[in-house]
Every structure is written in structure tokens, then in C-alpha cells.
Symmetry: C2
Subunit: 417 residues, 2 copies
């Protein structure tokens, strides 16, 4: 399969992009006979956006419960529903998430949720790319933890053996307040043995950090460093309540950071990431939406805007986290964090490409494309989405959209009914 995109804007110049298989083969070459030719007129090509922290199937809970105190929200609303979730619910919830992502320009996401095999099936069917981990925790009971891990190992094995290259199996220990130190240690060993990414919530709230210190006498990052858990394969999500020393340690181990501004604001975690200190420590910082129960959408354009607005607001500085840095967070930094040859449009990279509608009011006038993408746009400026060399949306149309909307609506309603 091959695609030729002609007369498209790339980095401010008109050029062409030739795709074969799942790779970008040539930029600016002569016209090629391809299976599909796309006109890039009034379109800018940008890399597909990468969402490095979400729980895709939670789209089913979108709007189900908001504006509640955190613990009541979890214990009265979210956990009871999650206890009822079937693998089919997760499949259709993830299909809805994938549809929303394709329509709003996300070509890859990093997921942590129950029924990871169903998540993978939905990702395969939708044509998108994802790192997938099953969420697991032992509520600080290592005996329970071992069982959980065994189940997880089986699921990871199943994905490794049966999936396309678009699926990256990963490990998803939930957080240091839900997973025992013993289990965290086992996870770290397994990740090394099998060269797996680890996806974990870390330092989301001040309470979890203080509770951990009460329980163990150490800060979470201190323990994880000593324990051999930290490394370049670890993606620490939220990452709000680190102190200076934590950030130094994380930098030393090249841990990847995922910033979730929208969720951090909605759940009132009280602080934003320490962006400047993290940059100084050479940390790779990417962006995530979190799940739809705490956001409530998967629009990475909105997340880019909120990332910098929140940082400006918190630091009283209009100049912090300028647009081009935010854009890198949502593209190349995401790719680095998930160890993907993506996040930029370059010969040899994966063909994960968006065509942006330059005649959209939100993209007019076009003084600065990156500023418009970060500060003005939302997902609706994406006209065409290509992932892994295949067209998933062309001129705003995704095949099979109606079925996904209907089935996911049905599953959501039965779940709460």
C-alpha cells in the first residue's frame, strides 16, 4: 500500500510526501504513482499527536459524574461502575475513544486499564497505535499482588504473540499507594527481563506522597530509585508533587514524565508540574489527557493549550512553555517516551501524519502555524488522519463511525442502567 500527498504545506513550504507500507519514504520527491493520491491543497502536514496517559474505555463514563469530592466520586461512582465492566464494554468504550482520537488527530496513545486484551482488539480494529498495559494493584498485599502480576504476564504474552506492530504491550502498576513495594520490585524485574515499558501514576496528589512517607519513612521516588524500579522505560504520569531532589533523581534515571493539565485542574490536585526544573534536569516531558471521567475528552489540542496556560498561571510568567515546546511535548517527546520512531515527519519515520485544514476559521489568519495549533485549534481542524501508513479519516470522514457511536452509547447506558 502506498500514499502520495501532493502540494501539502510542511514546515511552511509546499512539498510532497510519499508513504509506502507504514513508513514515510520520501519528502519533496517527484510525483509517484501510488495506490492513493491525496491533494494537500490548503492543508498542512504535521505529525500525529501522541497521548501518553489515558484510560481509553473510560469514555463510557464521560459526564456520568462530575463536580464531586475526589473520594466520593471514586467510591460512589467510578469504582462501582468499573466493578461491572465487561470485556465487551471495554472494547466499545475503547472504540469510542479511538474514534474520538482519530477525529481529533491523535494517532497513538498510552493506555492503562482493565481487560487489556479487549483494549488491544479495539485498537487493532480502529487502526490506531497504542502502548497498552492492564492496570493492576494489590492494595498493599503482596500475596494478592503476585496473582495480579501473573495474570498480567499472561496478557502481555498474548499481546506480544498475537498483535500487529501497532500494539506495544506494557506493564501498568497503578501507583505507589495501591501497589506494594514488593510488587513494584517484581514489576521492575519483569520489565527489565522482557524490555517492557512501565506506565505508573506518580505524585498526582500531595496526600499520596505524605501517606507513603508515613508508611515507609521514604519519599516514593527515593524508594523507587533504591529499589531499581526507575529507568528510561518508566513513564511517570501526573508528576505534580515532586520536590527538587525527586526531580534530580528522575533526571539521573532518565524517567519519562507525562503532564496531565486538564485532569490535574478538574481533580484539583493543587499544583502543576515543575516544568522549568524538569527541563533543567533534562527530563523528557510529554502530554496526556487522562481518562474521560476526569477530563472529559481526549482532545490533545485542548491539552496542549491547557498545559501552557496552567504553567503560565502558576508561575506568573507569560513566557514559560512557549507554543513550540508544547507542540514538541505532544509529538516528539511522546514518541521518545513510548520508544517510537514517530513524532516528526521525516523520511524513514512511521507514517503517522495529520493534514490540518488551513481554511478553518481557527487556523485563520496563518501568522504562525504552531501558535494556531496550540492556542487556537481544537481537534476539529484535523481533516485527514493517517496512522501506520493507512488513512483512518479523510476529509473528516471515518468509516464505520455511526456503529461505534451507537454501540458505545448502548454499552454506556446498560452499564449505568
Amino acid at each position: 500500500m502506498s500514499i502520495f500527498i501532493k502540494n501539502v504545506q510542511l514546515n511552511g513550504k509546499e512539498t510532497s510526501i510519499y508513504i509506502e507500507g507504514n513508513r514515510i519514504i520520501e519528502i519533496g520527491g517527484p510525483t509517484v504513482e501510488a495506490d492513493t493520491t491525496i491533494s494537500g491543497k490548503n492543508r498542512a502536514a504535521i505529525p500525529g499527536l501522541i497521548n501518553t496517559h489515558t484510560h481509553a474505555a473510560m469514555t463510557l463514563f464521560r459526564g456520568y459524574a462530575d463536580d464531586m469530592a475526589l473520594f466520593e466520586w471514586l467510591s460512589e461512582k467510578i469504582w462501582p461502575l468499573e466493578a461491572k465492566l465487561s470485556s465487551e464494554d471495554v472494547y466499545w468504550g475503547t472504540r469510542l475513544a479511538c474514534l474520538e482520537m482519530i477525529k481529533s488527530g491523535t494517532t497513538c496513545f498510552n493506555d492503562m486499564y482493565w481487560h487489556m486484551v479487549s483494549t488491544a482488539r479495539a485498537v487493532e480494529d480502529a487502526g490506531i497505535r497504542a502502548a497498552i498495559s492492564g492496570v493492576f494493584f494489590d492494595n498493599l498485599d503482596p500475596a494478592k499482588g503476585k496473582k495480579e502480576l501473573e495474570q498480567n504476564i499472561k496478557e502481555v504474552k498474548r499481546l506480544k504473540e498475537n498483535s500487529s506492530s501497532r500494539i506495544i504491550p506494557a506493564l501498568g502498576p497503578h501507583a505507589v499507594y495501591t501497589v506494594s513495594n514488593e510488587l513494584l520490585q517484581l514489576v521492575a524485574e519483569l520489565a527489565k527481563e522482557q524490555d517492557l515499558l512501565i506506565h505508573i501514576h506518580l505524585a498526582e496528589t500531595e496526600k499520596e506522597t505524605l501517606d507513603y512517607i508515613d508508611r515507609t519513612g521514604k519519599r516514593p521516588v527515593e524508594f523507587l530509585a533504591e529499589d531499581g524500579f526507575l529507568g528510561p522505560n518508566v513513564l511517570a504520569c501526573h508528576s505534580v508533587w515532586f520536590n527538587k531532589q525527586d526531580i534530580e533523581i528522575l533526571g539521573k534515571f532518565d524517567v519519562k514524565i507525562c503532564h496531565n493539565p486538564t485532569s490535574n485542574m478538574k481533580l484539583a490536585v493543587g499544583r502543576a508540574i515543575s516544568y522549568d526544573a524538569m527541563k533543567l534536569a533534562n527530563l523528557t516531558i510529554s502530554l496526556g489527557t487522562d481518562g474521560c471521567a476526569s477530563n472529559n475528552n481526549l482532545d490533545m489540542f485542548e491539552t496542549m493549550k491547557l498545559a501552557t496556560l496552567l504553567q503560565k498561571f502558576q508561575t506568573n510568567a507569560q513566557t514559560v512553555m512557549p507554543a513550540h515546546e508544547v507542540f514538541d511535548m505532544a509529538t516528539i517527546n511522546g514518541a521518545k517516551s513510548l520508544r517510537l520512531e514517530a513524532g516528526m515527519i521525516q523520511e524513514g519515520k512511521l507514517a503517522d501524519i495529520l493534514l490540518i485544514d488551513l481554511k478553518h476559521p481557527l487556523m485563520t489568519p496563518n501568522h504562525d502555524l504552531i501558535s494556531n495549533l496550540v492556542y487556537s485549534a481544537n481537534g476539529s481542524v484535523v481533516a485527514t488522519t493517517i496512522c501506520d501508513g493507512k488513512i483512518l479519516m479523510q476529509d473528516h470522514v471515518v468509516e464505520g463511525e455511526e456503529e461505534v457511536i451507537e454501540k458505545s452509547q448502548d454499552h454506556a447506558m446498560k452499564l449505568v442502567g
Copy 2:
């Protein structure tokens, strides 16, 4: 002209809406032969959103300068461009703004800008509704101020005599740090005499408040109260740096408050409005986007979300400013602030109505329409926009969109070129 909308969702029930002239005549009545019949299948009807603070023509500056320190940004980028603005620039900048608003569900806005007569012409041609004031200031020189005011009086008169009922002429003294106390007094007298709204920036930054105290020995609100300036016709925009006593005074005078969360964050003003205190003082609080140089879009859905997220973040409370209150701010409170019979779908009210696409991924599942509108949606969920009983957008199509995009792009490029 009449419109019959059949089988539409309104407050969770299927019903019909009959519009004649510019009013909603009947809800839930029998099928009527109308000039236009619209199917409301898979659509929810909601009131058109009301943006109570913007500078519409500044869409021309979208993305022209971001991520700069406030004073440099103004003095090196914004003011030099504004000095070159022609009335045709303002016309096409406002047309672009109106197009963006119509596409994203705003049917009425409150504007303050140069060349107000051009703004009004653009509003008339676009079919939208607006309160329009010319920005004016005297840099604390009352002699200069009197001239400015005279010019403004002429323009207000011109609008009063020549405009449709969709145009509400208003007075726009810029702020207490740019307008002398003498001029503010004249404005207040004129507003009373002619029963005009006053649109003013107030308490946006801490610096302007402290500077005013340095200069006059009084807090701005204290002076404005003693001076007879404050009243129910005053719309105070930004309203961030009020203290308790200010809020009490504002409540006593029934001053209207406009919250601009996106701009407040981007310009790093350091605080959000004191929402709970304002509610206690029975203040009417509405929402504004501010201009596109400091936002950089006019999407009131995004502004609704940011309004509550910022408040949650600032107060460390997940429960503050719940979705239905935010929705009221963007609809009925906006209508109250601009003295309009709008902001709700009710027989006798102005026919300013949106039809929302319930099959949009961002609106799925539909556990709670208002939550989805506030927390999940962006402007692209609006399928149809009706203002003053006329269809301005049907199924996402606005007549003449291409011309507006091209002309505004040209004017923007010439301006910076």
C-alpha cells in the same frame, strides 16, 4: 419569516419549537407550516451562547505574538499593529470573528474596540447579535478625554439611528489606569442620560489596582462607587483583583461581572475571580473569551470548561462551580448582563438557538447533556446556529464562509507585512 424545528431534544424531552420573526412563539405545539422546517433528529436545542467580553477584530492578530512578557507584547507587537488598523481591517477582522462565533455557537457578544461603526457593519452583515462599544481612553489627560468622548457620542448616535435591533450601542471606557477619573465621571453621566451599558476592564491585574491606590489614595471600586459610576448597567470585565469589600460594594450596586479565564491564564494575571464570594454577594457572573491576541480563539465551550477548571484548581475543590452553573454563566447570565430577553429557550424570548449534534463523539455517551457541553464539547458540536430568528449556519455550513476566510487572511497579512 418562520421556522419550525421538529423532533428536537429540549431539556431531555423530544418536542418542537416554532419561531416567527425574531421570537420563539411556541414550544411543543402542533406541526406548523413554516417558511423553513428543520429536523431536530439527533439534535438538542440549547440557547445561543453569549460572550460578554471580547475585541472581535483582534482575530486578525491570532498567533501573531504569544509567549511574551505583557508590556513587551503590548508595546512591541499589539499597539504598533493597532495604530495601523483601518476601518476595513476592523470590518474583516470582525467578520472572521463572527464566522468563528457562528460556527462555535455564540449568537451574541459584547465588544470593545476601535472603529466601532465598522464592527457594527460586520455584525449586521454576519447576522449575529452584539453590544458594541468603541474603546476609548485619555491616558489620564481629561482634556484629551473630552474629545474622545465626543467622538464616541457621535458613533453611538450613528449606531442608534442606523442599526437593526441586533446592535446594542454601549460605552467602552478602557480601564481606570487609562481613563482619568474626570472622564469616568462624564461617561457615567452620559450612560445614565441615554440608558447605555458601560463596558470596562476592571481589576485585571494587581499592578493596576496598586498603581491606582498610589495615585488616588483609594481603591478603584471605592472611587467608582462614590463617583456614581457603578450601577446595574456596568459590566466589569476580568474582575480578578477585588477584595472582600470591593465585592460587597459591587453587589450593592448590582454591577455585572465578566469572567475571562483563558485570557487570565495566558496573561498570567496570578489569580482567578473570587467566585464563591461573588455568588454570596448575588453578583451576576457571565463569561468572556477576551480578544484573540490573548486567548487565541472565541470558543465559548472552551471558556466554560476553563472557567470551572481554573476555579477548581485555585480553590483546591472539585465541587466548586458545577457544570450547570457554568452553563448559566454562558447563557442566561450573559443575557441578564446585556439586558437581553435571551439565554433560555422559552416562548416569547429571542430566537437565538443552537442545535447540538448528539451523534458527535464528544457528546457520546449522553449521560448528562450539560456536563458534555461544559466538560467535553468544543464549538464543533454545534450543527445549526439560529440568531434573531434566522438560520446563520445549517448542518455546519455558513454561507459565504470562503470569502470571509480569504479577505480576513489578506487584511491580516497586509497589516503585519
